[in-house]
Amino acid sequence: MKILVPIKRVVDANVKVRVKSDNTDVDLSNLKMAINPFCEIAVEEAVRLKEAGVATEIIAVTVGEKVCQEQLRTALALGADRGILIETSEKVQPLTIAKLLQKVVEIEQPSIVLMGKQTIDGDNNQTGQMLAALTGMGQGTFASEVKVEGEKVLVTREVDGGLMTVELGLPAVITTDLRLNEPRYASLPNIMKAKRKPIDVKTPSDFGVEVTSGLAVVKVENPATRSAGVMVESVDELIAKLRNEAKVI
């Protein structure tokens, strides 16, 4: 069984980004970049499925600039077998990424596409669902547990009121939530080994997909800021402030 794991290069989760002074975008120059945390969880889950004898091959794929090979190497060091970079310098929106991944799915024929539920830069939470629509697959989004049983997969999903389990026929798209697993750290030997694993470089035009978007960014601004208030000295003072000043209790 093949597993396809789409991943994305994003700014490190611990970095607070700033908006550019001309309000065209956020400023990512000189910031630490990393594999998106939800994608890392997807890679880990795929590796666990391989270790359990369920999966036989893991293919990591990403869409972006040449430098995104770094994150593909991270996925390879964590246990993916080979990588595909769909290289473009343009800003690619979720629908276009889904169309590119659809082409990869047609070629690779994976039984499961395992990917993050959202990236921490765009915060869109769309690509997996869109890919599932385009490929006609079922979808198990926001997964906290994945159980492959023969030609089916049981996915427990984190939903607003609790947990919901669905059964999907294979192939299927699964998007990961935070509680699915705790990703391992890549060992030094595995990082060295990853350097020799193959990465296939393609372009959107190789797949006949045009990079377009129905959305144009007009401007990017800072959110309304909140300034620190006052420190109170005691529980009594806190209760008094909430009752008499803020009038919220």
Partner: protein, 308 residues
């Protein structure tokens, strides 16, 4: 403009989020239709018909919509929605599941988590955990978007729209509902609570959340948690407030033993009044708190419970 709002409901009850999405639809302006897809969902449909500004309610009442499976609901919404200029739903886990699938079927983009309507084609949305706000203009023929309901005020229940049953079933055969484990609580839901008491890693274990529950009950509050507390297994996932959990904006948010990571702040910094109780006076949560108390929560919370 013709706007289709997809109702958020539990078949027997319309969720408050729907009235907030209708408010966003009213800000766009135009004729508003609400689609209720469910099974034995007449009560939800009747409640939707009473929302101010809604002209028509369409009801797709079929077993294949009972659990809001994305594979089935997206086919329905794409089929009905192709005749509308806008399709709106709450940014809940239900719509986040089926609406991007719908958008792909319609070959249009989705705009996630809309927080402001500038015009019929221009909207604002947060990204980078709310550290930046993008204003985006859509050139798609159908604008598909999820609405961050914490920033829109619900419309009143003063309307009387017509209700029309749809004879339609779009069973995809791709997915089957197996089970649901829903958290039962007498306390208000996080999305609608006026006051929220949240606990973090500082709570040390799940049992200690009982203190926060006592406080919540005294205040009529809902109980939330940081990712750290959920990851540590103290409390269930549906209590998580943050970038990838629930986004809330209550009148009062009390953060207890929460340090204030970017991802947590993204979920609560629009609260009207924020109180932070943390023994570390340097914790980042104090930078957004209106009232900060640098104290051991195991002293402060029992004292609060005694004095309130």
């Amino acid at each position: 403009m013709t706007i289709l709002v997809i109702a958020e409901h539990s078949n027997d009850e319309l969720k408050a989020d729907t009235a907030k999405v209708v408010a966003a639809a009213s800000a766009i302006g135009g004729d508003i239709t609400v689609l209720v897809a469910g099974a034995n969902c007449d009560a939800a449909a009747q409640a939707a018909a009473s929302l101010a500004g809604v002209s028509k309610v369409l009801v797709a009442d079929n077993a294949c919509y009972e659990h809001q499976l994305a594979e089935n609901v997206s086919l329905l919404v794409a089929q009905i929605g192709k005749d509308y200029s806008h399709i709106l739903a709450a940014a809940s886990t239900t719509a986040k599941n089926f609406l991007p699938r719908t958008a792909a079927l319609l070959d249009v983009a989705q705009i996630s988590d809309v927080i402001r309507v500038d015009s019929s084609d221009t909207f604002a949305r947060p990204f980078y955990a709310g550290n930046a706000i993008a204003t985006v203009k859509s050139s798609d023929s159908i604008k598909v978007m999820t609405i961050r309901t914490s920033v829109f005020d619900a419309v009143a229940a003063t309307g009387s729209a017509s209700v029309e049953a749809l004879d339609i079933a779009t069973e995809s055969g791709l997915a089957t509902f197996v089970s649901a484990e829903m958290t039962k609580s007498e306390r208000p839901e996080l999305g609608s609570a006026k006051i929220i008491v949240s606990g973090g890693r500082g709570m040390q274990n799940g049992e200690n959340f009982a203190m926060l529950e006592t406080l919540a009950d005294k205040l009529g509050a809902g109980v939330g948690a940081s990712r750290a507390a959920v990851d540590a297994g103290f409390v269930p996932n549906d209590m998580q407030v943050g970038q990838t959990g629930k986004i809330v904006a209550p009148d009062l948010y009390i953060a207890v033993g929460i340090s204030g990571a970017i991802q947590h702040l993204a979920g609560m910094k629009d609260s009207k009044v924020i109180v932070a109780i943390n023994k570390d006076p340097e914790a980042p949560i104090f930078q957004v708190a209106d009232y900060g108390l640098a104290a051991d929560l195991f002293d402060a919370i029992p004292e609060l419970n005694e004095k309130l």
